[in-house]
Symmetry: C2
Amino acid sequence: MSDAKALFQPLEPAPAYKRLCQAIETKIMAGRLKPGDLLPTETALAEAFALNRSTVREGIRLLEQSGLAERIAGRRLAVAHPSTKALGQRLSQALVLHDVTFRELWQTIAALEPAAAAYAAKARNESDLEAIRQNLKESEAARGDTRRLSALDVSFHELVAKAAHNRALLLAREAVGQLFYPAFAVVVTRLDTAAERLLTAHRAIAEAIERQDEEEARRWMVRHIDDFHRGYCMVGLDPDAPIDRMGENSSG
Amino acid sequence: MSDAKALFQPLEPAPAYKRLCQAIETKIMAGRLKPGDLLPTETALAEAFALNRSTVREGIRLLEQSGLAERIAGRRLAVAHPSTKALGQRLSQALVLHDVTFRELWQTIAALEPAAAAYAAKARNESDLEAIRQNLKESEAARGDTRRLSALDVSFHELVAKAAHNRALLLAREAVGQLFYPAFAVVVTRLDTAAERLLTAHRAIAEAIERQDEEEARRWMVRHIDDFHRGYCMVGLDPDAPIDRMGENSSG
DNA sequence: TAATCCTAGTTTGTCCGACAATCGGATTAT
DNA sequence: ATAATCCGATTGTCGGACAAACTAGGATTA
């Protein structure tokens, strides 16, 4: 029954600009084009593929948007690898569009962050520790400034994940974290105890990571994430309501 | 020192096609354009934005590639929401490009799948169960056919995640799973016991989900994922070697 | 009257040619 | 040698053009 579908491929009836994009994409995936390599100029590409420059430009836009190419120094086009940041933004965007709820984000974060903390305790190096210490110091200074503290909170968890030296984990949590922690910012403003509890948890997690105590890092992170949920409900927010589409007003 | 960076924003010197894309993207994010809505024709857009059609087309390519618009019926352009599948593919691609290792994937999967199984036991409905049963039946029939069994394995875990009814979790594991399980396919071919162990685990997980036994579902999933790791090492593969770039040859 | 076919208009994909702004490198002046 | 200047290359944008494919409505036929 699915024999026909397996036998005959779609026959590639795609428009030229899409095929051009795929052609270059394939070269990149195969490693024949490495990040930093300069791509030919638009006219050169047009000549090589026997296409018009306009068509080539449309293909280039696709490459650009998938993060596989970017303008270097404002001018020439260079091969690139999609950045974690950009991918994370795209993912958060998708999650917002799908009206993901706080509960869904929380469940996912609750699965990822403790693992990240544990691996961080194992794999962290000195520069990781330095960054985390720095974040902790700034956080304590920003005790009063809710907005700033929230940004530092996002940053703290990102640094912990970075310290785990696991890019898959980093990428997975990036998207969710970008939405989750700002959503929690409201709690800090409304709940007096929240900021202090957050700092306590961060300190404990940082210390456990420093001591390379995996289990302690995991435990504290679990408690910390549970706290998020409790605080969210305590201030009267509905965990089953979709996350608002705030937070990505400036960047793009 | 970073005052200047905070004070002065980049001033938005973006090319017109990029601004057009952002303008439409903003409308979509704000919910003023809903999926399915038809976008104006290229000429109409050109007129509305006072741009040339070529420029408009370049902007449209960006929208198209980010999954926010797609050709409906081959012709007109309609607003859409990025599909989990497409996003997952883009993520896997990125992971491959960054030379992510089996260990990294495994650690991430090990964090996500047990949570997915537990939530699935809680939130599954009848149609979820039906799909899982169907998969189980086909898997047992495909006991000998390694390639097919591997595909069904990917599918099984995806179905479990779907049953958790958590789109954030689904999306996060989609990307990693798409790489992880095919990478494991080699093990099934080389290790006689692997296929049988896999089936046993799947059966147990499915049964626990059916009984709504969260803890049992989680426990079995943990064991199952551990098995993956053990099998991978047992056949002599290096968990710290990058995942190969096979598996996404056809799609694009 | 209903079904079918045909034709005209629309929309997209592609092409051609052109020009201003800008960046890099070569050239020239000090 | 260094600084200012000039020239070519490259990108962003524009205008127009045409073929193919699809849509819709009217004409034709059973």
